[in-house]
Amino acid sequence: MANREKSNVGAERRHVETEIPRNWIVTRLDDLISWARRGSLWPMPFGTACCAIEMMATAASKYDMARYGMERLAYTPRQADVLIVAGRVPYKIAPVMRRIWDQMPQPKWCISMGACASTGGVFDNYTMVQGIDTVVPVDVYVPGCPPRPEGLLYALLMIQEKIKGESIADLRSREEDPERAGKPHLPAEEVELIAGPFGNSTFQNRVSGLESSSPILRPGDRKE
């Protein structure tokens, strides 16, 4: 397998070399487009909390994500391809995040950076969205609290890897229903399922300063 690939590459190179003087090459349209797309991703940094600082570090001198084609951080969603949600997302900012996602043109991808963005992290409380995937679709989750800059770089490379496999003929993943704009990404039951308390956090229903009450067992227990 490896051999065959190698020889293919050789053949391609020869081909390119012989054709370049005549100024044209032959390739698959998908390859060409995905090559162009992945080499010039413009991330839209949506940094809220601690993770945003690591995102800044990723862009700054030592880690320098411009090396991978993310030369330009797009501060406007209209000109961005990758939404990087770095940090906690409380309910108050959720509609803003959804709006930014809706404003980004297709094709677009989303990275959820850090435990908080991915699951709510340690903030299993009244104000925090329990995973941004309840609000927008996510392509890559980066674990960590905060993830190291290397982690974010790896996520960006994974997005590039994903783009490699996409075809422009396949429109399914790129279709958007205008009706869904500004709505939760998942149906209510699924939000309940993934956002319900679990593990240690089920036993944290301390009601008053001086006494504790029984734990919440199922998400449905809390219905009004």
């Binding site: 001198s61 906690r88 409380p90 509609p95 009244y126 939760p184 301390r206 300063g209 001086l210 919440i216």
Partner: protein
């Protein structure tokens, strides 16, 4: 909490308070730090508090917060005062019934109370009569689940997650972003009269507020102008996080600026009541992630005060080194991002380079770059690794070079001077009254620094200066921070000289886990380990206000314990919150471009503003 009978606290100001107000003084007690707490009659609170400000010199209002003990007991509203002249604190408590909590507002006495009272309203439902702009501040304005910090409010809120998500996304951004709504949503620096005025204006006009008086004149001359309302944020690269500023402009001049916060409210204070004392430490560094160790250590110091515990000499010096390193870390990011906002990119790269070096030190010690969680109650997570102190020494020796280079880029740079000198000026009295703290306060010429006023970690034994500014403008705030880094280096040099040998943790099995060798080999050790793990660290009933000088200003912890393993109230008085509320006073009358410079210059971090 035991109440000490009235009269046992021998302080002249309290005695005088008593003779003057008689029955309105309900009781006096001492807290764990032996500071007096005075209970007053809620119906006369404004009168008493204005007397304290006017005649007793309590010119600084550090905090207003609430305390709910649950079980339908009255809600206590807690005022933390400080007199800069006498250098002494005073805590005032007024009790209001939980079902209809109402209290007079002290906005007329201290401007600093504006946001603090709004927060108490938001979190406890206490309404302050006479407050010019009593709206929710951290939660969305149409929040319907109740008052989160009340004891009967469940940790996860009253609605299901799906319902909460649906409601959040249905919030209708256009509603809040329309011109009318933005103009009606008044507040910030404006006093009550102004808010009403603007609202009245609007009723006649459909597309924007018209300045009364001048508008008429101009209309006669055929030059009608309208004020424009500009919305910055909540997602904007120059707001340093998710901050929203609504600015009313007359041409390019800022008429009014209203910050909207709460977009990063994470419920730290509520979570704090559900975590054990030590488990709160990882939460503290997620509040100010620019100086995480300072927060870890400040919290541990506050709990130790409650416990009446003194840490070991080695621990004190190591903690101090961590604190000063973090002051540099935080000021570095401040310079980098502020310069970036004003248009200079190079300092950003320089300072991030140096930050990486401090991050490496963090990583060597705590294993994490940013979320260090380095302290424990009674000590540190571990002793510093071998060679760490040498690495710090190396940093202290080489860092001045970068500092010099950065200074050369900025201090005499004419663009920098043009953008910062004379911009966002505030005088010393005003700065105290609106609640500015930390470098912002010192830039206005008030030499207030907790390290001097109420020393902790033996700061009084170190030789360092407190830089103060003269003009109180953006440039002074820059110079003060630059000089503070120099002073931090001085402190670090002295501290590195004197790191004593010895244990890092206190030798107290009630607080610190015994070493594994003891746990495995002796029954005492095993019992101590078991009890601490299973029952948690027990803190005796009582309360304390403890503050340290963080890189951004005075960071206060108001902790209330009931003798159990978890806090009853975990209040973080974060400096950025108060500093942020001073922004309107700084920018009104300036140009729109200056708002970015001034906002950057007060050094905010949204994590601790919104908590």
């Amino acid at each position: 909490m035991k109440r000490v009978a009235v009269g046992t606290v021998e302080r002249a100001d309290i005695k005088e308070l008593r003779t003057r107000f008689g029955d309105a003084i309900r009781g006096v007690e001492l807290d764990a730090a032996r500071d007096p707490v005075v209970y007053i009659d809620a119906s006369r609170s404004v009168e008493i508090l204005s007397y304290l400000r006017g005649s007793q010199g309590y010119d600084m209002l550090k905090d207003v917060t609430g305390l709910d003990l649950g079980g339908g007991r009255p809600i206590q509203v807690v005022y933390q005062l400080w007199s800069t002249e006498q250098a002494r604190p005073l805590r005032i408590k007024a009790e209001v019934p939980a079902d209809r909590p109402k209290l007079g507002s002290v906005f007329g006495v201290w401007r600093a109370s504006n946001w603090l009272e709004r927060e108490v309203y938001d979190m406890f439902g206490v309404s302050f009569e006479g407050h010019p702009d009593l709206r929710r501040i951290l939660m969305p304005e149409n929040y319907e689940e109740g008052y989160p910090l009340r004891k009967d409010f469940p940790l996860r809120g009253r609605f299901t997650r799906a319902e909460q998500t649906r409601r959040a996304l249905a919030m209708g951004l256009e509603d809040v972003y329309s011109l009318q709504e933005l103009a009606v949503v008044e507040g910030g620096a404006g006093d009550g009269g102004r808010a009403v005025e603007a609202e009245a204006d609007l009723s006649g006009v459909t597309a924007g507020a018209v300045k009364p008086g001048s508008a008429e004149q101009q209309e006669m001359a055929g030059l009608a102008t309208r004020h424009m309302i500009l919305n910055i944020g909540p997602q904007h690269p120059a707001t340093h996080g998710v901050l929203r500023l609504v600015v009313e402009l007359d041409g390019e001049t800022i008429v009014k600026c209203t910050p909207h916060i709460g977009y990063l409210h994470s419920g730290f204070e509520k979570l704090g009541e559900y975590r054990e004392w030590n488990q709160n430490i990882p939460l503290t560094d997620r509040m100010d992630y620019l100086a995480p160790m300072m927060y870890n250590i400040g919290y541990a110091l506050a709990v130790e005060k409650l416990l009446g515990l003194e840490v070991t000499p080695r621990c004190k010096v190591i903690r101090l080194i961590c604190c000063e390193l973090n002051r540099i870390l935080s000021h570095l990011i401040w310079i980098g991002t502020t310069a970036l906002d004003i248009g200079a990119f190079t300092p950003f790269l320089y300072t991030f380079q140096e930050r990486e070096r401090i991050y490496n030190l963090h990583e060597a010690y705590a294993g994490a770059r940013m979320t260090t969680s380095v302290s424990r109650i009674g000590g540190m997570m571990a002793d510093v690794p071998p060679g760490w102190l040498d690495a710090v020494r190396d940093f202290v020796e080489t860092f001045p070079q970068t500092l010099l280079e950065t200074e050369r880029l900025l201090t005499e740079n004419s663009i920098w001077i043009g953008r910062t000198q004379g911009v966002g000026v505030i005088g010393p009295e005003d700065a105290i009254n609106v609640g500015a703290c930390g470098p912002n306060l010192r830039a206005s010429g008030v030499p207030y620094d907790v390290r001097r006023e109420r020393p902790y970690l033996d700061y009084e034994t170190y030789d360092f200066d407190i830089p103060v500014g003269r003009y109180g403008d953006t440039y002074d705030r820059y110079l003060v921070r630059m000089e503070e880094m120099r002073q931090s280096l001085r402190i670090l040099e002295q501290a590195l000289e004197r790191v004593p040998d010895g244990p890092i943790n206190v030798d107290d099995p009630r607080v610190i886990l015994p070493p594994k060798s003891q746990v495995m080999n002796s029954i005492d050790g095993m019992i101590a380990h078991f009890k601490l793990v299973m029952e948690g660290l027990k803190v005796p009933a009582g309360e304390v206000w403890y503050s340290i000088e963080s890189s951004k200003g005075e960071l206060g912890f108001y902790l209330v314990a009931d003798g159990g393993p978890k806090p009853v109230r975990c209040r973080y008085r974060t400096p950025s919150f108060i500093n942020m509320s001073t922004l309107p006073y700084l920018v009104e009358g300036e140009l729109i471009a200056d708002i970015i410079a001034v906002n950057a210059s007060i050094d905010i971090v949204l994590g601790e503003i919104d908590r």
